[in-house]
Structure formats: C-alpha cells, structure tokens
Amino acid sequence: MGKMYEVSNKYNNYKEYEREFTEVGRSIPRLDGPAKVTGKVQYTDDLVLPRMAYGKILRSPHAHANIKSIDYNEALKLDGVLAVITGEDCPIPYGIVPHNANEHALAVGKVRNWGEGVAAVAALDEATAEKALELIKVEYEVLEAIVDPRESVKRDDLRIHENHPNNIAYEGTQVYGDPEKALAESDYIIEKEFYSSYVNHGFIETQSAISDFDPNTGKLHMYATCQVPHYTHQQLAKVLEMPMNKIRITVPLIGGGFGGKGVASQADFCSALLSRKIGKPVKITYERSEVFATNNGRHPCYMKFKMGFDKDGKITAVDFNNLMDGGAYSGWGIVVLFYTASMVHIPYMVPNVKFDGKRVFTNKPTCGAHRGLGGVQPRFAMEQMLDEAAEHFGMSPYAIRKLNAVESGYTAKSMMYVPHSEYKKCLDEAVEKSGFLEKQGKLPYGKGIGISGGYYISGTSYTLYLSYKPHTVATIKIDEENGVTLFCGATDIGQGVDTVMAQMAAETLGVKTEDVKVIPRDTEISTFDLGTFASRLTFATGWAIRQAAEKINAELFPVAASILKCRGDEIAVKDGYFYSIYEREGKKGRNREVLWTDVVTMYIESNGPLTCSGQFTPPRRKGIQQGGNIGHSPTFGFSAQVAEVDIDLETGKVNVVKITEAGDCGQPINPMSVEGQVHGSIQMGLGQALYEEMQIAPDGRFLNPSLHDYKMPTIRDMPKIDANIVEAYDPSAPYGGKESGEGPIQPTAPAIFNAVYDAIGVRFTEMPLTPEKVLNAIKAQKAK
C-alpha cells in the first residue's frame, strides 16, 4: 500500500472510523442545485468575455475523402471575418491515449467520417462566422466509405489509416486457465452471438470552449466543458506547442458528460488556435449535430460467446470474441477494448477465460468513453446466457446468479482483486422487493419479468501515460475568514462530486457540509486530479480529502486538548465542536467542549496559517497479460436489477413498467445522490435497450444527428423505479464508499431483454429492441 495509507493510519489513531457518521450518509440536495434550477449559474456558453469573437467549424459532408484543396479567400473577404484556419494550422496529432494519438483539431489531408472538421472561422458574431463557412470551397476526392467493421477487417485495399492493415486499430488476446479444456469438459455449453448498438450519451449541454490568448504574456486561458481538464491541458500543450504552465483551463459548471467530455474537443483546439491567431478571445459552441459528429459514444460490439457450465450450473469457462466498431479514430479505443475483456471476470467467478478482441476503424464518428464503458456490451450478452443456462438446468435465474456470484476477498483469474462485495445482497434485495420468484415464468403472455446483475470499477489503477505521481491531490485551507476551503481538481460533471467532497471533508473535520467551500476546478488554482472517468472520484478524492483533513485535525487537536485540559488522543470533533471523549462538565453534564472556530482562531494566532494536502495513489496489481492491467481497480461497486415489462402484442411496443434496483456502493456518502445516479443509469440503459441508435447510411452519411430523430427516453417513457441501497461498508474505501454512477447501468438492458423473453418466449440478441423487431417475432410465432 502507498504512502497515503501510512499517513492516514498514523493520524487515524485519534479516531477509528466506524459506521457512525454525521455528514457522510446525509441526503443533502446538491449544493449547486438551486443555482442550476433558477438559471443563476453560468455554463461555458453563457460566458461572454470583452472583445470576444465567435468561431464555427466547417464539417465534411463526406464520410471518407481526400482533401484536394481548401480555398477560403472569399470567406476572409466577408465583412466581420477575422481568421480562418485549416489542418495546416494544426499538424500535430492528439489523442487521450498519447501513444496512439491520431486525431487532429481539423482534418489533415483526409476526412474519415461524416462531420469531421476541415476548417474553422472566427468572426465578430456567430451568424457571420456561419456565413463565412458557406464561402469556403473544399475540393474533395470522395473515397468509398466502410461503415461495418465486419466488412472493414476484410478491406486491406481500403485503409482508413495507412499504417493500419485491415483497418485494425488494435487487437489483443488473453488466456487465463485452460478455457479450451474446460469447455470440452463442460456439461453444458451455450454458443451465441450478440450485437450492442451505436449510441451517444445525449448530454444536454453541448461542448463549448472560450479561449483567451494574451499576446503580451503568451498565456492561454481557456474555459471549457471538459471532464478531464488535466488530459486536455496536456494535449493542448502538445498541439499548440506551448508549455503547460502557459496554459490555464477553467471548467465552469458542466451540463452532463457521461464520458463524452472525457476527451479534448475540437472546440477546445480550434478556439485556442484562432484566439492565438487574432489575439482576442474566441468562443466555439457545438451544435447538436457536431456532438454527434464527434461522438465519443459507446462502441458497437459484434460479440461471439461460448460459455460453459458444470452439471450444477457453475460457470466453467468463457470464450469471448469481440469485434469492436471504433469509428474513424483511436480515442479511448484501446482502453475500451481491454475493459470489455476484463468485464468477463466479475461479478461471477469464471475459472477459465479466453478473450480475443479487435477494435476496427470504420468511416463513422469515433467511439469512446460512455458511462459503464466496456461493461455494458459483454454484460448484455452474459446476463442473457445465464438466463438461458438457468432454464437448461431448471434453476431460477436468481439461483444461478447466486451460485456464481463473487464475494469479498475474491481474486479473479486476471488477478483483479475484489476487496469488498455485497453482490449477493443486491440479488437478494432486488428479488425480494420485486417479487421476482413469485412472478417469473408465471405471468400471462405479453407480460414478463427479468433479472440481471452487474458491477463496475471504482477507479483505475493506472494513468494513461507512464507516471508515478498521485492520481488526486486535495488541499484544505483553514482560516478565520472563510472557515474550510477545499481545493481539488476533480470535475463535477453533474454527478455531484462537489457535494460529496464537501461531505467527506466535513465528516473528518467535524463541521457541517454546508460550511465547506469547494473551489471549482481550474488547472492553475486547483490541486491535481486525473479527471472524471472510471467512477474514480468518490474513492480517490475521499482518500486525499480524508488524509488532508486528518493532517488538519492533527494540528488542531493538541490546541483543543490544551483548551479542554485533557489528553490529545481523547479529543473528538463533530458538528462544529471539539470535545473530550471522557471529561464532562460536572458529573452528569455535557462532555467538555470548545467551538471549532475558537480552536482555529487560537491555532492561527499562535502558529500562523493552516493548510494541509492529502493525496491518493491507487494500489497496483500486476496484470499478467497484454492489456491485463486494464480493469484493475481499488474496489468495485455492484448492482442487481429486476425489470418488469408489458408488451403491446399488436404493436410490439415494450413498455417497461417497473425496475427494482439494489446496489452495493458501500457506505453511500449521499444517498439522494446515489438514487439520482441509479435513475440516470436506468434512463440511459433503457434508452440503449429500446430506443436509441445513431443511424448511418451505407455511404457514411449520418441520418439522425439531432435529438428530434435520435430518440432518448423522455420522462413519460420512464418506468417506476424502486432504488435500494443494500447495507454495505467497504473497509478499504474512505468512509466505506464506492462507485454508484456506472455500476447501475450494467444490468438495465439485459434485465429488460430477459423480461421480454419471459413475456413472449423470444430471445433477442440485438439492441435496440424496436417495436418492429418485437412485432415481427410475435407474427413469426403466430405463423408457426
């Protein structure tokens, strides 16, 4: 274990954390909630800087084409146009995974998907910028487009990237145990193919960036909708060829990210390049069609599975072949590929595993990080196969899951270590609360109930570039004027980490959450954090905050002890008071206590300012095979869901009536926030299961790049949700808490599909499950 554990354990002598919390566990509405709902708060696009110009990006109408020439003379002549840039202005490639960076702020020589940026304009106002785009003449040599990865791997003659034969971005194989032998010896084997669809996050706030380059100092100050400011910072430095200390990124409030803002956007780069060119601030805000054109959504997967079971229904082996559609560029691709591999190993014990995966380029907007990345696809397949196996063995779908479920202390074949799991409790509670056992297999034709489980990581053990620095640093400043001020670069993208961080700091410091000020993230002001992804923040910031707060306590406790005339290790702090654990005022009086603020005053008057930092670096476990360290996490969250459906047999429409969820997020820091995450996860999972799909024509044109035609579930489509948090406490986690933002999306789609099977006896293997597919299956059933 790292340094932080030693430090925290040292100071921990003062107070052993029990499950008795005062601030942790409070259902506090978001601290930024009122400002959001009253429109008081400003998002990036709301900001206007003096002398600000407006930028727009010209996007390719073709999915695959060589750029022969770009003529923007006419555009420059238009009154109000300040500058035009093209790929020539940004020859250096970027990418979230630095060693396979192949993206450009604007296309260099070739476009590889519909909507790829080819030029950008800055003008005095947005309308002029848009008009200027119409005056730019781009001569394309249109190439054949490939939109199906199954086709793409066969077309070495048509390489999307010259240095990638057969359009394979990456491929990897992992073998744990002896899957071939285990399958041969299995009593029952299921072999099945599944397809998971091409979806986008659909966050409400489109990407926006304002770059303010100061020619006098050579400094760039950017305001951006970014959930990974550190990685964006790094890539801006690379593309702009500027040192990082000349670049400052401020992240205003974000209107949803879900992974989609987990890469630097072209608005970031283009606004910066334009601002540097004209010496004025430049704002670029995406239209919805640009969100779709730059995507970063979930990878569609063509999955071939073999799953073996022994005579009792125990899983013996999984053989997983995954052909992943990556779209045009690399993005998060290699990470996602190996996440799909790792997701096979939990939440069920799988003693033998083979993974064979390819991520393939196609002429479609690039796929990337999307809530629950790498998990949703294999879970969709495996949870349905478990149901099929249960039917074969005459077991209940609940029983087969319980039989195979992992428990605390489990080490997977891939060396992933699960310090804590209450997955079995999740299954029990979801089943009990929904009446699953009484209903499953017994409902009338057309009505059905289905169960599924899932899990997700609570952080990653590795950085995207080789580095040994802490993944998160938190600094707490204590003074008389502000009380508690917390600095941390962790980015609130709507998931509520600002509130949760305040709660955790308040817990250890013994003050009220509402009295903790969290400084919004800014690469110049905040302390370091890697970014918002992999559900890492509660766990990672929790340790850093707890360590910083314990250091503060270690300073303040002796002062409080001297005031209270008792031993330093017999002091505790809560609700704004330091108090003696033993000494009372009189025989039956209150414990001897002193105001927290009085102790702070005395400390500062005698010692001076008080600021302490804490840090977190996750423990590492060596993965033993290629890509095998991906998926390792300090701990894991679990979820089980039961979906109930009522199918309209005449139209094929699947109405999801109710979803009962039971989640193990350890000790919930903010139960209200956890419930919000569960509802959001279900909405997103349900959308992918039933409604959403980006539709691409054979020539690569995007057919539905608007929220008018790309159908996300509305509030009227939402089922009744019964979200439950099972009793849990993860001793390896700060305050016992784990992730709850990505685990709950894992079971939603397979639970619905299993419910549909229960309703009409048809096993569907492709998302989305449109009414048309269901009705055709019902008609085929009738025809038999």
Binding site: K131, E650, I715
Partner: protein, 294 residues
C-alpha cells in the same frame, strides 16, 4: 443553426392589416402563427423567405367558442395549450383535445397553434385526422371574403394545401356531434412523448337508435399517405352492422388495405401497415363503446 438570410418582418395590428400584407407580399412572405415549424425550417435552411408576417399575437385570430348544441369555432391562432385545457372542448371533442395534448412537448404546445399545424400540412400532423373525423371545416379569409372547405379538402399533400395567395386560415368550424356518436384518436410512435407519429388515426362512430347498429363511421388515417386518408373501405365493412370481434378484425384489414405508407428513419412501411391495423381495431372498438354511452 443561425438564420442567415435577411428578411422583412411585419407584425400587423389587425386581421385586416394582416390580409392586406398577405395579399401584397404574396408568395414572397411566410405567415408566422406559432413558429414552431417555420423557425426550425428557416434555421435548418430548408426554406428562405423574403418576409415574415407575424400574426401570432393577433387577438382577432384567437379564441374558442364552444356552446351547448352549437358545435364549436376555434380561431386559427389559438394556442394548442388553450385547446388542450379547454373544458368544454374536452367534453364535446375529447378526440381533438387528446390529439392536441399528444403534439410535441409542453414548450411547443405553448407556442404552436392549430392553424399552423394544419397549414404546415405535414403528413404526420396530429390535428388533421381528428378534425376530419369530426367533420370540421376550415374558413379561409382574404380581402375578397371568406370561403369554407372540409379539412380533408384543405390539405392536398406533403406541405401542400388549398391556401391561395392573399389567403390565411381564419378559423375551424366543428359541427355539434350527433347523438349516439363518439370519436377517438390514437397514435403510434416509439416514445410516449415528443414523437413524430409513425401512424395516427381518428375514428368517429355513430349508432342507430338501438345503440348497437352502426349508422355511420368515419375513419381517418395520418402519416400513411401524403395527406389525411379518409377510409372508404371501413364504412362498407361496418355500416348497418353491430360490432363483433370478427368485424373488428375485418376493419383492421380494410384500413390496412388502403394505407400507403413509406419507409423512413422512424419506421418501415410494413410496420406502419401493421400498426394501422392495430389502431383501427382498437379505435373502432373504443369509439363504438363510447357511442353507446353518448
């Protein structure tokens, strides 16, 4: 997504002034009633117009008259939300108020008007089918005077209608529902809200004195043809008969045989035909049961 072209903007203060403008500007102008279709088309550069005549705030073009025994009159610029929540309309024409409530989102219904919905003449529009089933007429006004048309004669096809230069849609006239009749509306779309229907339908059933024999039936389908499609086959199946399960099934087939849907991003033609059958079966039964109680 900005409106790039320049246009003249007129905001007449009276119906007369509006008619003068419509006449003088002719086809170079577009009339803005609620703007929920027009502005989007302009932003998406699907249309370019030299002038906009904004009649959205004209009080003379707003209002609902709905009195016992006298049918109803709805002026063209009445906001959909005012139709949706009008208690008298809801009682007398539940199919219409329900159809209106299913259009777009709350935000859209606060802006949009029924006149606009019909003049936009989209094949997937929500209000033309129930208006047609209810026997509604539109009154078109110009400086020369007024003329009346049945709604199904007003809409000619996708974004085409009977409006001549100088005319605006002034109001809708709905006849008083006949005794022992009831009209029902239904629609099929992927989601339960914010949907462009892949098919919609309104059915108006009138019964004989015996409260069992069908005297008249009007079934109108939306989104399966270039304009609201009034079924000829369904009355032949149902008139003079008492409704049975077998007849319901035949009704579905009859409606399906007439529908001429297309395939698009929302649904295939085959699926549209399937659900037309389902809608016809359901709505005929619902309207029949309701007519018995009327």
């Amino acid at each position: 997504m900005n409106i790039l072209h320049e246009f003249e903007y007129f905001k007449p203060k009276s119906k007369k002034e509006a008619l003068e403008l419509v006449k003088s500007k002719g086809s170079s102008a577009k009339v803005l009633a609620g703007g929920t279709d027009l502005i989007i088309q302009m932003k998406e550069k699907m249309i370019k117009t030299d002038a906009i005549i904004d009649i959205s705030d004209l009080e003379e073009l707003k209002g609902i008259k709905c009195e016992e025994g006298k049918g109803a009159e709805i002026l063209a610029c009445t906001k959909l939300v005012d139709i949706e929540f009008n208690a008298d309309l809801k009682k007398k024409y539940p199919a219409l108020t329900y159809a209106v409530s299913q259009l777009g989102s709350n935000q859209v219904r606060v802006m949009a008007t029924m006149g606009g919905n019909c003049c936009h003449s989209s094949p997937a529009a929500e209000t033309p089918a129930p208006l047609s089933a209810l026997g509604a007429k539109v009154v078109l006004a110009s400086l020369e005077g007024e003329r009346e048309l049945a709604i199904e004669d007003f809409i000619h096809g996708n974004r085409k209608n009977a409006l001549k230069e100088g005319e605006i849609l002034y109001k809708f006239i709905l006849p008083e529902p006949v005794k022992k009749s009831a009209c029902r509306y239904g629609h099929i779309g992927l989601r339960n809200a914010m949907e462009i229907d892949c098919a919609n339908m309104a059915v108006n059933v009138e019964l004989e004195e015996d409260k069992a024999t069908i005297k008249n039936v009007k079934l109108v389908m939306g989104s399966v043809s270039i304009k609201p499609l009034v079924s000829e086959a369904v009355p032949k199946v149902l008139v003079g008969k008492k409704l049975t399960d077998e007849l319901i099934a035949t009704t579905g087939e009859a409606a399906q045989s007439e529908a001429k849907p297309i395939s698009d991003v929302r649904a295939s033609a085959e699926y549209r035909k399937d659900v037309i059958g389902a809608l016809a079966r359901r709505l005929v039964k619902e309207a029949y049961e309701a007519a018995k109680e009327a």
